[in-house]
Amino acid sequence: MSKLTTFLLAGTTALFATAAFAQHPHLNVAMQLEPPNLDPTAGAAQAIDSVVYSNIFEGLTRFMSDGSVVPGLAESWDISEDGLVYTFHLHSGVTFHDGTTMDAEDVKFSLDRARAEDSTNAQKGLFASIADVSVVDPLTVRITLSAPNGSLLFNLAWGDAVIVAPESIGEAATHPVGTGAFMFQDWVQGDHIDITRNPNYWGTPAVLETATFRFISDPTAAFAALMAEDVDVFVGYPAPENLPQFEADPRFQVLVGNTEGETILAMNNGREPFNNRLVREAVAHAIDRQAIIDGAMYGLGTPIGTHFAPHNPDYVDLTALSNYDPERARQLLTEAGYPDGFTTVMTLPPPSYARRGGEIIAAQLRAVGIQTEIQNQEWAQWLETTFRGHDFGLTIVSHTEPMDIGIYANPDYYFQYDNPAFQALMSTLNETTDPAQRTALLQQAQRIIAEDYVNAYLFELAVPTVARTGIEGLWRNQPTAAIDLTAVSWP
């Protein structure tokens, strides 16, 4: 062997060796929508939480990928006998990305700010039961409630309840400063957001050194960006019809996870003819859930029979109550006094589950004599006319907030379900902290709304993620909107 060949061979071996051992330090992540700003405590947009939850900001407690709630910045807590006083013990040595210390004062500031009179927190209701937040010592905070609240630890895990610092919150919309494993680096609006590993992180440091979030809403563009390997991970991939193609390609893995999104055909309970339970029951029986899942979602989604996530241990399968039975639907309509059916308005917000699902539902309703006049609405318009103005007969929407069965206790909520028995049940639930009792109450609540046919329950929204083969540590499920990169690594 000549010297030259030896040299070349040695060089090649060295090259391969470095390639095999070097960690890819960077990840390109894509999602559909760009966040309007990066302050999770002042906006409802899920895209904000997708970028910042757990990566940049942390709360006292946090969600894991399976939906469980575990300690976050609080390492432990004590609850008083009467369930009214929670004492949180904070991790020591936690600093914000700007170097300031995170202590009990910051926790008090964050929670007081969220529940203040002039607060612009989109989930202010989460903090409604808090009567007082007081600092015991720099690492101990005491939260006093006005009434027992079994879901306080769960509420504090939301992105809207993260701990922020008074020094940096003013700039959070464009320059978020939190305590997370990643620090905000740069945002080119309209194009991408860069985050970089926090070298002073208090917990297990992130594996990735840097990550870039890109925003691609066009389905064709999403496909091309993955195929061209411009992005490594696409969370919430917008074109389910291409998923088999990615599954067949050895370069990619496809993860289909569940979300907290109960997709429902909501009915205006406050208005004729849907104030009649028989009519609502007829609508529920007129609908073939599987046809909607197959036709509108390319098979992604789990049928539901009540307003509850099927992966939750407390879920009761009530789909049989509203099985697909057009004959029964016609009978019920006749019984209700509509032998020839009726005409109603169905408003549809932009997501494809609503637009595509709406067409299929309209056809299924037509088969039992109900004519629908479809109105496509943008989100802002839907919020104003359908949601706030209650100006609709039917509408399709996915309720993505976790554990939101409590909306049925609010008679002013857009579908206007007013049942004092259910409202009393929800107050009892809020004051119950015993897990077994809570399960019983939650299951009873699911039955009441299913048997009252408040809405037609369609399916639990699924979230497809397409990623390069070998990438590990991604969340399959979306118990809250989050693209948690803290444990993600390349092979």
Binding site: P36, A44, A122, Q123, D191, A221, D230, A380, Q381
Partner: protein
């Protein structure tokens, strides 16, 4: 020339004032409250009210119109509701993508259309003419977003010469920036070039039938010499009109192309702002685009006068 210019400038300002009123009125009429949109379905009414106050949405419509227009006169477009950043800065960030894209696309349009149009006119009725006309027919008929998708599939997915979209920012150098803009520019330019080539050809053919061409030929010029020396310049007036319209279209009409290539341009900004009911951004960007269209048309009017001396006298 001075009276002509003064007349044009006056109509320019009147158009801008009317445009600002129309834009404001239209955006006000569209249903949807930016505060309610930002806070979502679980927000409490008092939270929405607090945010409306914070954003200045509780002022009356005339008050907001006056504060918007007087701000614009000072070069201040206000602060975006959802992004919480100054609109002026947002527009500047986006225009450094949209303007070069429009200029690049227009350059390509002219580079393709002029030779094609002149060639077709000089070969009137022959095979070359028919070939060019057939190609332009196709170019006019096929929508630019379809071209865009095909270009992405060939050059980004298959050949991997460029990335499928996105924009690295001019901070990384001129070349990577141009590389990111080249496919979108081609996709935008092809249909425009097809239109312009057809206009160029028919305008030239009109000229070739004029008396002064016959005179030039009688003087002893060949057909080609007459075409190049006399017809092309005279044929430019209708072509200039089309170029002016096309530039405005390329600047404002890149929305679909910017979505496909996920470019952070003005089109994408306006698209996001409309769905978020970020009224102040919508109003300001639309106003800017209208102003640009009006100014481009103004420039084209002046260019007519430069090309055709008779217009200066007539006005």
């Amino acid at each position: 020339m001075i009276r002509y210019t003064i007349g044009r400038v006056t109509s320019l300002f009147l158009s801008l004032v009317v445009a600002s009123m129309v834009i404001f009125a239209v955006v006000e009429v569209v249903p949807g409250d930016p505060a309610a949109y930002m806070l979502g379905v679980n927000a409490r009414p008092d939270t929405i009210a607090a945010l409306r106050t914070e954003l200045g949405l509780d002022m009356s419509a005339p008050e907001r119109y006056l504060s918007w227009t007087s701000g614009m006169l000072r070069g201040d477009f206000g602060t975006s509701y959802t992004y919480r950043t100054p609109v002026t800065q947002m527009i500047l960030d986006r225009i450094v993508v949209s303007l070069p894209l429009a200029i690049l696309a227009l350059g390509l349009t002219v580079l393709i259309a002029f030779p094609a149009g002149i060639y077709a006119a000089s070969r009137r009725g022959k095979l070359g003419d028919m070939g060019v006309m057939g190609a332009t027919q196709l170019g006019v008929a096929v929508p630019n977003f379809w071209f865009a998708m095909i270009l992405v599939l060939i050059f980004a997915v298959k050949l991997r010469w460029v990335s499928a979209g996105g924009f690295p920012g001019w901070g990384h150098g001129i070349l990577p920036g141009l590389k990111a803009l080249i496919l979108p520019a081609i996709a935008l330019a092809l249909p425009q070039a097809a239109i312009l080539a057809r206009v160029m050809r028919s305008s030239l053919l009109d000229m070739l039938g004029e008396d002064f061409i016959r005179t030039a030929r009688a003087k002893g010029l060949t057909r080609r010499q007459a075409l190049w020396r006399h017809a092309v310049r005279n044929a430019l007036i209708p072509v200039l009109t089309i170029i002016g319209l096309q530039f405005s279209f390329l600047l404002a009409g890149g929305i679909v192309i910017e979505q496909i290539f996920f470019l952070p341009g003005l089109g994408r900004l306006i698209f996001q702002a409309i769905s978020a009911r970020d009224l102040i951004v919508v109003e300001s960007v639309v106003m800017l685009l209208v102003a640009l269209v009006i100014i481009v048309n103004f420039a084209v009017d002046l260019a007519y006068a430069a090309v055709d001396p008779r217009l200066r006298v007539r006005a």
